[in-house]
């Protein structure tokens, strides 16, 4: 198979995966149980996204300037800073960390 064929097949699988959740019947999705499970899952997934963005590089854990960004963002959120400011401060913290020679 040519490389382009593999690319297209992988794109198709990715799209089909995304579509699966949209084909589930609403009867199932509207149950009290699904609501409870999905609320917990949302928090779990968001927390996992925070952790993997802050600490993971591929399949390694790497502590670098992103940790600085995480701490600065946490302090900013605690001080009730607006979302956009939190993101900018996170970028600034990581950029300054790297400029100062941190990994």
């Amino acid at each position: 198979m040519s490389l382009t064929a593999w690319v297209l097949l992988a794109c198709l699988v990715a799209f089909a995966t995304k579509l699966v959740g949209y084909l589930l019947p609403h009867r199932l999705l509207e149950s009290e149980r699904f609501g409870r499970v999905s609320r917990a899952m949302t928090i779990g997934l968001l927390a996992a996204l925070v952790a993997s963005n802050a600490f993971a590089s591929g399949s390694h854990i790497e502590l670098d300037s992103r940790v600085l960004a995480l701490v600065v963002a946490g302090v900013a959120l605690w001080a009730r800073a607006p979302f956009l400011l939190v993101v900018v401060l996170g970028a600034l913290a990581a950029a300054l960390g790297r400029a100062a020679g941190l990994p």
């Binding site: 198979m1 490389l3 382009t4 064929a5 593999w6 690319v7 097949l9 992988a10 794109c11 990715a14 799209f15 995966t17 995304k18 579509l19 699966v20 959740g21 949209y22 589930l24 609403h26 699904f34 609501g35 409870r36 499970v37 917990a40 899952m41 949302t42 928090i43 779990g44 997934l45 968001l46 927390a47 996992a48 996204l49 925070v50 952790a51 993997s52 963005n53 802050a54 993971a56 591929g58 390694h60 854990i61 300037s65 992103r66 960004a69 995480l70 963002a73 959120l77 979302f83 956009l84 939190v86 993101v87 996170g90 970028a91 600034l92 913290a93 990581a94 950029a95 300054l96 790297r98």
Partner: protein, 211 residues
């Protein structure tokens, strides 16, 4: 919210474009991945594994994309899209659009958050993939500009409003720890699924305890 998430993530397309060319794909194949596959982690996995053959690349990318099915089920349940909109929503169901949707309570805001982040990331991701594929590494590493710090801060900012109860904080901390422990042990992408399972398990236990 959607816009800042889009910028923090979309600019990373430069990295993807440059790395994809370095991995031996041509410009059309590179752009096809960003336009159609459109799920950053899977795209990096595909080009990272392509040296070992197409089958391995397909498997790595597909495994990494499984979490998008979980996002789709939740988006479907909450936004109740019409059948004709579902394929478009499915294509835009990624970490960033789900997180922007999930961070809010008001139904109209959740819908707007999903579409703003979904379309915003798609446009910028593809634009910057294009730039990366043509300009290559000459643009420099986006890490130097702290973009990975911006993404980390953005996801924390999206999680923050959910942490209103003690149970929620416990689930978040446990899932973050599980993710960090799992990253070196299981294939890339699966730590998120593991965290989802742990979150569901914890909610079942606290629910049973209260009945």
């Amino acid at each position: 919210m959607g816009l800042s998430v889009s910028i923090a993530t979309g600019l990373y397309g430069v990295s993807f474009g440059a790395l994809s060319m370095a991995a031996g794909l041509d410009r059309v194949q590179t752009q096809l991945l960003s336009a159609l596959m459109f799920t950053g982690g899977s795209q990096f996995a595909f080009i990272g594994a392509i040296a070992g053959g197409g089958g391995g690349a397909l498997a790595a990318a597909s495994l990494l994309g499984v979490r998008n099915a979980v996002y789709g089920a939740q988006l479907n349940a909450a936004l109740k899209p019409r059948a004709i909109v579902k394929p478009v929503m499915a294509e835009l169901s990624i970490d960033e659009s789900f997180a922007t949707f999930a961070a809010q309570d008001d139904p109209a805001e959740r819908r707007r958050g999903f579409w703003a982040a979904g379309i915003g990331v798609w446009v910028l991701w593809n634009l910057f993939t294009f730039i990366g594929a043509w300009a290559g590494e000459s643009l420099g590493d986006p890490k130097r500009w702290g973009l990975d710090g911006a993404a980390t801060a953005a996801f924390l900012g999206l999680l923050w409003p959910r942490l209103r109860s003690r149970d929620a904080v416990a689930v978040a901390i446990t899932c973050a720890v599980v993710t960090v422990i799992a990253v070196p042990l299981v294939p890339v992408g699966t730590p998120l699924l593991l965290a989802a399972v742990v979150a569901v398990g914890m909610s079942a236990i606290t629910h049973r305890g209260r009945r």
